[in-house]
């Protein structure tokens, strides 16, 4: 028998949460009810920028069934919240800043009564000049959206001398790119239930992605200590970075109504409300300049990046920081200058979304690399292999990469899978054909900092508790939003304890039951939660083995935990089942409880020099896409796509593949069809009939290539996959379109009009005339 490296890690198939989900038993927040429950509803601003002169809730309060109607003045504690910049209103106090900004809330006996009552609230507004164009908003005379400048963030990266770099260059390209605003489109709309607890505490069952930051805000808004605010996650129907601030405000509102009325309050957004009020992925404008020698070596990269933050700061400070750090791509270049700005405008605010500032810069730098390759008459793969990071490379922020720089490996594996050279030549030759269908192949690659990096302290907790019958309970501060965090942690604990994950029951995040583990973002679930699970399990394992050593009369070093048994490697008859050992440990008062706490290695950042150890480790990935372009209609069909990702170690192989497929299709939507258009502050999409995401009929043939170079900083070598999986498909597809048609599209998405006409068609009104 060939010895496997691991028994459970990379071997187990299944998901802890699947049974509840295929039977309909899993309870999402909107599925829950409590006796005496009221329903809440929100009045939202119809104006993009207006001063609130007066609000009257009298008519609403008098309506039958209405129990409470509240405005900002009813908030006992802080009226604003925010993880980085505290300027987001729970309900607008002095003014509204975008169409959809919350203004007042109502609780009533039925949902219908609550919604009808909202319509009876009278608000007197004084309209203010609004600004929608991000570059207009940067001008000194633009309307101010908050106190201080609309440009509220400027991150810099400075390496070498950009002047010298361009002097050395033999070829210089200047290009600009634009990306669009998109919706997370989690299938489950936001929902929260607030229950008053005995005393003056509150419990909230909800689908908040980040329970701890939500708790902090609720506690500040209610003016009660954190230990009296209990946030428990219900089963979550997707998030993708999207259920952070929008859930925080929903939870604050539900909590306010529940405390005011003394009754449970349920608030569930319709899809229209979700599209209207929830934040989006930032649209970017990216100005790039790149210099290279004729042989393809890069000499300088300069990027000026402007992010439309919308009405509130949200995660913009961190999103744009990642963009600044990764803007120059995974390439060795001694002279780099990047500036990233975040700017307020009067429209839906933008924040965290899977990728978090990387999809935008990846689209720009990876398009630009292809443009440079064309200019230099080099193959795009060759140009990348010539410049990409290898062992010992130093990034734009002056950070020497840890060993395990596998960029070349992922590039070659993905390109090999797709028969890059052969197809590149074949489709090149086909260009002379008369056929209106043109084929093309393109690629994109990236490096990505894992976890939070220099954004902040990075630590997480997981508990492993073995019961006296050998069954196991786990819980963690890391959320499972559908990505499989619980299963990954259970697999890791099972590997340590030599048991099957089926023995484990995993409880959802509850802020009162386990330490603040930070947000479940930045693809940190497995590396942070998994490391904590490993430590928790090791604590239990150590105490159990110590006891087993006594019981079996064998030295600990000779004991093996495998397949639910503990036995001696020297003498197989010396053995006990895991369950029996657990029972024996219990009887002898041995600790069967392990609290795992993992803190990541430190990172550094100097805002002035734009240099530092930005992240403690990195992942590397490459997508290669093959397309068919209908040159008479602009229709693009992605035929095949291969994605190679170095995940360190796949804890749950099918789970990693699932992340890759889902990420690819989300990236394809970003590249080809998705656009949350807002005109004069008014959203143009209110539901899935107007906002299009890919269907089952749109998906290409997908190949996931899992590359494993175990990282000593991750549990069993594991790093991450969630975000890397979605950050490359768009540039790979757009590069393939250019290969097919010879035309470069520099603005996402590559929809029918842009592919056919090379420019965006803009609809100025419902029945407008043409405008380019």
């Amino acid at each position: 028998m060939q010895k496997k490296e691991h028994n459970v890690v990379g071997q187990y198939t299944g998901r802890l949460d699947a049974f509840g989900k295929v039977t309909g038993r899993a309870l999402y927040a909107a599925d829950r009810c409590f006796p005496g429950m009221l329903y809440g509803a929100v009045l939202r601003s119809p104006y993009p920028h207006a001063r609130i002169l007066q609000i009257s809730t009298n008519a609403a309060t008098r309506k039958k069934g209405v129990i409470a109607a509240l405005t900002a003045s009813d908030i006992p504690g802080a009226r604003v919240f925010g993880v980085v910049v505290k300027n987001q209103s729970v309900m607008a106090e002095d003014k509204v800043r975008f169409i959809g900004d919350g203004v007042a809330i109502v609780a009533a006996l039925t949902e219908r009564e609550a919604r009808e009552a909202v319509g009876l609230i009278r608000v007197e507004y004084k309209l203010l000049p609004a600004v929608f164009d991000v570059e207009e908003a940067m001008k000194p005379d633009a309307p101010r959206i908050h106190q201080g400048d609309n440009v509220f963030i400027h991150h810099k990266v400075r390496r070498g001398s950009i002047e010298k770099g361009f002097q050395e260059a033999e070829v210089i390209l200047k290009r600009s790119y634009r990306t669009q605003r998109i919706e997370h489109s989690y299938l489950e709309p936001e929902a929260a239930l607030a229950l008053p607890l005995p005393g003056d505490g509150i419990k909230i069952e909800c689908c908040a992605q980040n329970a701890y930051s939500t708790r902090r805000s609720v506690s500040e808004v209610l003016g009660i200590p954190m230990n009296r605010v209990e946030i428990e996650q219900a089963t979550m129907g997707g998030s993708f970075g999207g259920k952070d601030e929008v859930m925080t405000s929903l939870c604050c509102r539900a909590a306010l109504l529940a405390l005011k009325t003394g009754r449970p309050v349920k608030m569930v957004n319709t899809r229209e409300e979700s599209f209207l009020e929830s934040y989006k992925r930032h649209p970017y404008i990216l100005y790039y300049k790149i210099g290279a020698k004729k042989n393809g070596r890069l000499t300088a990269i300069e990027a000026r990046i402007i992010a439309d933050a919308g009405a509130y700061a949200s995660m913009s400070p961190f999103v744009t920081w990642r963009s600044a750090v990764q803007a120059a791509g995974p390439y060795e270049c001694l002279n780099v200058k990047t500036d990233a700005f975040a700017v307020y405008t009067n429209q839906a605010y933008t924040g965290a979304m899977r990728g978090f500032g990387s999809p935008q810069v990846n689209f720009a730098i990876e398009s630009l690399m292809d443009e440079l390759a064309q200019e230099l008459n080099l193959d795009p793969l060759e140009l990348r292999l010539k410049n990409c990071f290898t062992e010992g490379s130093v990034t734009a922020t002056g950070q020497k990469l840890n060993p395990g720089v596998s960029l070349k490996e992922v590039l070659q594996k993905a390109a090999g899978e797709m028969k890059w050279e052969m197809k590149r030549a074949l489709y090149e030759g086909e260009k002379r054909n008369q056929d209106y269908i043109k084929r093309g192949i393109g690629l994109a690659c990236s490096y990505r900092g894992v976890s939070l990096g220099a954004e902040g302290i990075d630590a997480a907790a997981t508990v492993v508790s073995v019961q006296s019958d050998g069954s196991v309970i786990m819980w963690s501060g890391i959320s499972d939003m559908g990505q499989g965090a619980q299963t990954a942690q259970a697999i890791i604990a099972s590997e340590v304890l030599g048991i099957s994950p089926d023995r484990i029951t995993f409880f959802p995040v509850n802020t009162s039951r386990i330490s603040d583990s930070g947000p479940t973002v930045a693809s940190r679930g497995t590396i942070m939660g998994g490391s904590a699970a490993k430590k928790g399990a090791e604590t239990v394992r150590d105490s159990m083995l110590k006891e087993a050593s006594i019981i079996l009369d064998e030295s600990i070093d000779n004991l093996i935990m495998y397949n639910n048994w503990i036995f001696s490697s020297k003498n197989r008859t010396k053995k006990t089942s895991f369950s029996a050992l657990a029972g024996e440990c219990f009887n002898r008062g041995v600790k069967l409880f392990g609290f795992g706490w993992h803190k990541s290695p430190s990172t550094t950042w100097d805002e002035k020099t734009g240099q530092g150890q930005a992240y403690f480790t990195f992942v590397y990935g490459c997508n290669v896409a093959e397309v068919e372009v209908d040159t008479e209609t602009g229709q693009v069909k992605v035929i095949r796509i291969a994605a190679a990702h170095d995940v360190g170690k796949a804890i749950n192989r099918a789970g990693v593949e699932g992340q890759i497929y889902g990420g690819l299709v989300m990236g394809m939507g970003y590249g080809l069809m998705e656009e949350f258009s807002i005109q004069e502050g008014e959203p143009q999409c209110y539901n899935f009939d107007e906002y299009l995401i890919p269907t089952a009929c749109d998906i290409p043939d997908m190949k996931a290539i899992i590359v494993e170079n175990p990282d000593p900083l991750g549990p069993f070598g594991a790093k991450s996959i969630g975000e890397p999986a979605t950050e490359l498909a768009a540039p790979a597809i757009l590069n393939a379109i250019c290969h097919a048609t010879g035309k470069r599209i520099r603005e996402l998405p590559a929809d029918l009009e842009k592919v056919l006409l090379d420019h965006k068609l803009k609809r100025i009104s419902k029945r407008g005339s043409e405008e380019k």
Partner: protein
């Protein structure tokens, strides 16, 4: 959430006309509900809506072979049309159009009558039905009347239906023996998509290889859906050729702009409708193997 509803249900045509006659002004007819329910949901909550559910009228839930004609009950669902061998044989492009409506769930509920009476400019079944010169029967307490579909549609979401009338039957002549038909739908994605442009066409050649029968109806191009007869006349009597079809495509595109004027989307739609018409004709007359456009 739906507004308050007063619900009536009719099981027969007679019951329907009777209820309609009594509630002339505000009544809304419910068949498959795929258009009406989203519409009701977006309406002001404080007004009571009167609904007449006709979905259980069995008589209107069938497709009938009448010799030279086919008669489709207004309550026949898209999925029934897709499965109908009769329709597949004698009006293939109509089957194709129904198969591209919404999703499986929508096709299982949405009716042909609903698709017609909702009169969305992008309704998939309208171009083939207009190409078939389909005739509608409308029933009211004062009897019934028939009208050509092309005249019944009065623009985007507007029809000639009087408040006390309802659509019962859609009737058209089978395509002539040897006539081939084709429906092209261009959307922003492969399923659940609202058409950006459509073309329904059918035609055949005589023994001298000359086009002797031709119908062309573009969709999502003009507020009204109609046959582009000038283009049809141009094609008649000619031998199928790439050049001829390209010319026909250009004519359709020009005509479209004449009618709608230059709009924000014209720059895109003009060249594309020309190409789609050309492809549709190519497919019908076998100049090129079937074009893979959905």
């Amino acid at each position: 959430m739906l507004p308050e509803i007063k619900y009536y249900k009719a099981n027969t045509v007679e019951e329907t006309v009777h209820i309609l006659a009594q509630n002339k002004h505000a009544i809304r007819i419910l068949a498959g509900g795929t258009d009406l329910l989203p519409e009701l949901r977006s309406e002001k909550q404080n007004r009571k809506v009167i609904i007449l559910d006709i979905s259980s009228i069995k008589l209107l839930n069938k497709i009938e072979d009448e010799g030279h004609f086919i008669r489709i009950g207004a309550l026949v669902k898209h999925s029934q049309m897709v499965e109908s061998i009769l329709l597949g044989r004698h009006a293939g492009f109509l089957t194709q159009a129904s198969s591209l409506v919404g999703s499986a769930q929508i096709r299982n509920r949405g009716t042909l009558g609903g698709n017609i009476c909702n009169a969305a400019p992008c309704a998939d079944t309208l171009p083939p039905l207009v190409a078939l010169d389909a005739e509608l029967t409308l029933e009211s307490s004062s009897g019934n009347r028939t009208e050509l579909l092309s005249g019944f549609i009065r623009g985007a979401y507007k029809t000639n239906r009087a408040n006390d009338e309802f659509l019962t039957w859609i009737r058209f002549k089978k395509l002539p023996e040897g006539c081939r038909s084709n429906f092209i739908k261009l959307g922003r994605r492969e399923a659940l998509s609202i058409a950006r442009l459509q073309v329904a066409a059918c035609g055949m050649i005589d023994s001298n290889n000359k086009i002797c029968y031709i119908r062309i109806v573009p969709g999502s191009t003009t507020p009204n859906v109609f046959r582009f007869t000038e283009v049809e006349e141009y094609l008649l009597g000619n031998e199928p050729s790439e050049r001829l079809f390209s010319k026909a495509g250009d004519m359709v595109a020009r005509k479209m702009v004449e009618i709608t004027g230059v709009r924000w989307s014209t720059e895109y739609k003009k060249p594309v409708i020309a190409a789609l018409v050309r492809r549709s004709l190519q497919a019908i007359f076998n100049l090129k193997p079937g074009v893979a456009v959905k």
